[in-house]
Amino acid sequence: MDKSGEAYWKATLGLVSKILLVWFLVSFGAGILFADWLNNIHLGGYPLGFWFAQQGSMYIFVALIFIYAKKMGEIDRKFDVHE
């Protein structure tokens, strides 16, 4: 792979790692590992850990994909590899 190809791939991996870090933190983190602790906080009638497991993580997932698609489009154009 030539130089710009390598840089493009590096930028892609950087973005994907950030997206997946958030993905992990909201579901496995807030929804499972720290749920008990977060349940001490309430969001309306929802204990917060329960909310992350049954509501919150899903909203964040949707947002993550659109952020990814947008940022990826920017990276594509920056490295001039877009369709």
Binding site: S27, D36, F50, H82
Partner: protein, 603 residues
């Protein structure tokens, strides 16, 4: 007009709509049969993917399971939506760039080997078949209620309908039909939820209703539910985890990577016009899925609340004593919906203490305080068994909603089950006819012969799945979770390494897939019987149920995937590098430029 007639009318009308669309856009050439010519917009494709994806497991079964599991049921919600993030970031755009019809084709080309493709076909078949067993279970439940027959007869009727349906049109028919199905099923799911949320909390949005206070009370719905279920000996609703935190973690992980590895979902992303569209398509699919998935926990908690309200009126909204001698309803005065479901055999009552009233509680509770109160009340065991798979379908009946809502839910349940079964059958038929027969055994087969082979494969799968669906390995959602575990442990790692590692070779990938699939099936079959046939379980061999750190068979796919990655890595290090042109192929797949329309030709 009575309820049964209304159901016939509504279900009949939706069927006429789907079949009409299927005929209107009947498949012509093989290319159209599989991927609808590659010209579907991201939003429409997202909607069709959502219908394809949300099966009997999501629609009929999931909320029922959450209703029984409480907080732990969140693993289905996070698992089956979180997988889309993986799909969008790790697989979909690259597979779209690769530009082939099927997952085995990708594996075969990337790992430069027909044997690798054959192993992928094997994994795909095992996962898809298991998935269809879950669908047939759901179809059986839906048809048994809809026709007022036993669950067995329901499964037979379902087999016939699914077959006719899947053979009728190809993907093109199915893409537009599925958009229609999505619309039917999403209305069917949300309308009763809105009604029920209004009734219980006064808030019409179920997602907010679940976090609101009960109508006319200061206490939140969830807090009240926690209190009531604890008094009945069940686990606390908002904190009871699925087995253990470790099991819940692995289970969620398994469902996520299984989602990203399931061939019939991945196939959807071959039908979008560009790589960029593949990325946003996954987002749109998840938007449409999340509408149902964020409603499901509200349906679950509210159905549980309403079930308890039906059996012990006054307990939830008027603070009546749950153990009082006259708080439970008399069996003779039970509501009509219970009588209707008793016919299907999925709801049963047995008067253990002979008082003519229905006692519904957890008789295996270990809570001593609860036990003492139960003994004092003279209860002799739980008297009501409610199959978890009926909760969603019965939900509007339990809440005494109008007939047309009940009919709509029946139509939605059937739409969900049929659309997914059709998508899976298509994945199976293309794997057998395209990847196996044409790709490996008879390369010179005619287009007509290929289509015929695909249809025969569909028929056989339905018969096998229907037979096993009569004695399913679990509730619909549980069985489907097994399918995800199988996809997670076999296909996901191979596809992902194919894109993210230039050096992964065919030996590594094949060894990984076989190891992951083998170990997962070994653990699953130990619990559920060899090929899910009842009576062939071998739990003693593995040292009892859930013997691997308390991990349930449904969750084991996550462990299988780790083994897959590990074995592939080791074997890869011991064998020689993939050839130069494959490494170039991987580089080519990684950049969007130069994506072209999908073609099915074998290289």
């Amino acid at each position: 007009m009575d309820l049964q007639t209304t159901i016939y009318l509504v279900v009949g009308a939706t069927f006429a709509l789907y079949i009409g669309i299927a005929i209107w856009s009947r498949a012509g050439s093989t290319s159209e049969f599989y991927v609808a010519g590659g010209g579907v917009s991201p939003r429409l494709n997202g909607m069709a993917t959502a219908a394809d994806w949300m099966s009997a497991a999501s629609f009929i079964s999931m909320a029922g399971l959450i209703s029984n599991m409480g907080y732990g049921g969140g693993l289905f919600l996070m698992g089956w939506t979180g997988g889309y993030v993986l799909l969008a970031t790790l697989l979909a755009p690259y597979l779209r760039k690769f530009g082939k019809f099927t997952v085995p084709q990708f594996i075969g080309d990337r790992y430069y080997s027909k044997s690798a493709a054959t192993v992928a076909v094997l994994c795909l078949l095992v996962a898809s078949l298991t998935y269809i067993i879950g669908q047939m279970t759901g179809v059986g439940v839906a048809f048994s209620r809809f026709l007022g027959v036993s669950k067995e007869v329901g499964v037979y009727v379902g087999m016939g309908v699914v077959f006719t349906y899947a053979v009728f049109g190809g993907m093109k028919g199915i893409t537009y039909t599925q958009v229609a199905q999505y619309i039917v099923l999403i209305f069917a799911y949300t309308i009763p939820a809105i009604f029920i949320s209004m009734q219980l909390t006064g808030n019409p949005i179920p997602q907010l209703g679940l976090g609101s206070s009960l109508s006319g009370q200061d206490i939140s719905l969830l807090a009240k539910l926690d209190q009531v279920v604890t008094e009945l000996g069940f686990g606390r609703y908002t904190t009871t985890t699925a087995g253990s935190t470790l099991n819940m973690f692995v289970y969620t992980f398994s469902l996520m990577i299984g989602t990203a590895g399931l061939p019939h979902v991945i196939m959807r992303f071959f039908t979008v016009p560009t790589v960029a569209a593949a990325r946003s398509s996954a987002g749109w699919a998840l938007v449409f899925i999340a509408i149902l998935y964020t409603t499901a926990p509200a349906v679950a908690a509210m159905a549980k609340t309403n079930l308890i309200r039906t059996i012990t009126p006054g307990v939830v909204l008027q603070n009546a004593d749950i153990y009082g001698s006259d708080s439970a309803i008399k069996y003779d005065e039970r509501p009509d919906w219970m009588k209707r479901w008793e016919k299907t055999g999925l709801l049963k009552f047995e008067d253990k203490n002979g008082d003519g009233r229905i006692q519904y509680y957890n008789d295996k509770t270990k809570d001593e305080a609860v036990k003492a109160k139960i003994d004092a009340a003279g209860w002799k065991g739980n008297e009501l068994t409610v199959n978890a798979d009926i909760i969603v379908l019965a939900n509007p009946e339990i809440a005494l909603l109008p007939d047309w809502v009940i009919a709509l839910v029946a139509a939605g349940g059937l739409a969900a089950a049929l659309s997914t079964a059709a998508g899976l059958l298509l994945a199976i038929s293309s794997a057998i006819s395209h990847d196996l027969v044409k790709g490996v055994f008879i390369p010179g087969i005619s287009e007509k012969g290929e289509l015929m082979a695909g249809k025969i494969a569909m028929a056989c799968s339905i018969i096998v799945a229907g037979y096993l669906g009569l004695n399913p390995p679990g509730f619909a959602a549980g069985t489907v979770a097994l399918a995800f575990g199988i996809a997670a442990s076999s296909l996901f790692p191979a596809i992902m390494m194919g894109i993210f590692s230039k050096k992964m070779n065919k030996e590594g990938a094949m060894a990984g897939m076989l190891a992951g699939l083998g170990i997962t099936l070994f653990y699953v079959f130990a619990h559920k019987g060899i090929f899910f046939i009842k009576g062939t379980e071998y739990l003693d061999t593995i040292g009892g149920a859930n013997s691997f750190f308390g991990i349930t068979p449904e969750a084991f796919g996550g462990v299988g995937a780790m083994i897959n990655f590990f074995v592939a890595f080791v074997v890869d290090k011991l064998t020689k590098e993939p050839p130069e042109h494959i490494q170039h192929l991987v580089e080519h797949v990684r950049t969007p430029r130069g994506s072209k329309a999908v073609d099915g030709a074998h290289v």
